[in-house]
Symmetry: C2
Subunit: 333 residues, 2 copies
């Protein structure tokens, strides 16, 4: 059972990894087998990104959802691996898209193998994800994940179109992160329930996943400016350097004085950034309480995620999903 005495957020992930150890080992085997190819560059590159310190958060959500709904099956394992491949393919294509040079703390794959290989190996993993879903034998699971994949791509395009829109309405920001992040969390939890053969719990778990995903992305976006209290623990400023319009920026600009708005309008243009801009951006986000306001927004979604679990039968896996929700929030404070 959980160790509620520990307040370290890391222990939650480690505890989940321990609870789901045997299942995660099966998922790792599937990931390795499916990424195999006689074309050397494919296992080299996909191994690099799949193995690059990923926490396997999405497979854990899938597995825990299946257990909370009634029990994991071999379909759950295939589904968990498929969800991780979709996530990995998205990361590879994001590398190209974002011009980001670091990914999971290592140089982005495209820095090592080139843009071209990142696009093509992403396509390969995406195809393999669908192949794994076929192996679940459940057309309904395929339907959920195929739709989610379309929504994710749509969200990424929507984010691209939002670049430079400093007056982005909060609703549009939320629509973007619901598509690009929450849709996969939602699909993983919903399909997890179906893979357990318990469709009666799929709507509750879908709602859990969606709200968890929304909160997760808001926290991530807030952590990119150091969260509410500390700069330690995560590389800061990636979104800023890419000119990505996120909730803390939108709030800080909305609450700022005219000269602060002028700062944001200039500094969020990648080619007009100066060395001292990131520090000033963090200062403004603190000064306007924009980090706190963002975290309050995340907190509301975490509460919705936990509320969604109420209809599920009591179990240690339901508690695990609750703890995961708390963890996602805690890492932002």
């Amino acid at each position: 059972m959980l160790n509620p005495a520990s307040k370290s957020p890391f222990s939650t992930i480690e505890y989940m990894q321990t609870c789901l150890k045997d299942d995660l080992a099966i998922v790792e085997t599937i990931l390795t087998e499916e990424a195999a190819s006689p074309v050397d560059m494919i296992p080299d590159l996909s191994g690099y990104i799949v193995a690059a310190g990923g926490k396997r958060l999405r497979p854990m959500i899938t597995l825990a959802a299946a257990y909370a709904a009634g029990g994991a099956t071999s379909a759950t394992h295939y589904l968990s691996a498929a969800v991780e491949f979709i996530h990995t393919a998205t990361l590879l294509h994001d590398d190209v898209v974002d011009n980001s040079d670091l990914r999971r703390g290592k140089p982005a794959a495209k820095m090592v193998w080139g843009n071209t290989a990142s696009v093509l190996v992403g396509d390969f993993l995406f195809a393999k994800a669908f192949h794994l879903m076929v192996r679940t034998g459940e057309i309904k699971i395929l339907d959920i994940l195929a739709k989610a994949s379309g929504v994710i791509a749509e969200g990424e395009v929507r984010q691209l179109a939002a670049q430079g829109r400093l007056d982005l309405p909060t609703e549009e920001y939320l629509a973007i992160i619901e598509a690009k992040t929450a849709a996969l969390f939602e699909a993983a939890a919903e399909a997890g329930a179906l893979s357990a053969g318990h469709a009666e719990h799929s709507a509750a778990l879908a709602s859990y996943g969606k709200n968890l995903g929304l909160a997760f992305q808001i926290v991530d976006d807030t952590l990119d400016y150091g969260g509410t209290t500390s700069l330690i623990g995560k590389s800061v400023g990636d979104d800023f350097r890419e000119g990505k319009i996120t909730l803390p920026v939108v709030i800080a600009r909305r609450r700022g004085a005219p000269e602060d708005r002028a700062f944001w309008d200039r500094a969020m243009q990648v080619d007009k950034q100066e060395d001292s801009d990131l520090a000033h951006a963090i200062h403004l986000i603190r000064q306007t309480d924009a980090a706190k306001a963002s975290m309050d927004e995340a907190k509301a979604y975490i509460q919705l995620a936990k509320n969604a679990l109420i209809t599920l039968p009591e179990s240690e896996y339901r508690i695990l999903l609750e703890s995961l929700a708390d963890f996602c929030l805690d890492r932002g404070y």
Copy 2:
């Protein structure tokens, strides 16, 4: 029925389009509906590439295969649209990959919308392809297309790894084009038979599709150097300018004198090309009969494709598939 008196290769495609007019209209409607999105950039970009003069060759193969196997169904229409979306997604990602500036005679999408949008909209169309396959309700069709998608990506990576390998064995060239081109033709024809509910004809049609695809790509690669007789009818030199190692180049270099080999070894390096190189490359390909040898190779696959049709019941659609094979070959002479 067919008009065997006409020797113009264009009439075959036009005749197929006429024969399959009603089905193609349904496929077009599906393509338009599925590419719809509230995010403007998606229908703008996908409409641009989907509508950009595509002959709908792969949907026509799918439809004709289904009819030749027994009859098209609504599953055939969804499948045909899915196959076109996979093809279109590959084109969009190829644009990024190849640094090619023209596609289907128009500026490549990435020149208009940027690399980023090409990657993301490609992902969107790929997801939509899987969504359409889910709508066929046939897990076996999903299996075939998911596997083919993986093979296509693998073939593209393999082609990337072959860049600069002037001594590429013919077998490796064939393995690359079998993966990147023939796999989708094969899957389209095989799944076409399944969508008609006639699995007993799927192996024959798979063989037809694979061999047709191999020949199609060899002819395409030969046409890039003007074919055997004429420079007219297709933009020449795209592959050459990208340093792509194709069959006519491999054969011309193998048959060339030492100084010709030295020419190929320099000129196939994109950054070392000079203005007069393309004309000299075409000259060497003619001189060594490399274009003719390539076309002979294509001819052998066309014969295999036609042989594969023998077990099918006699019908006008079987004749249509035979004519299509002849057309694919004829355009190279």
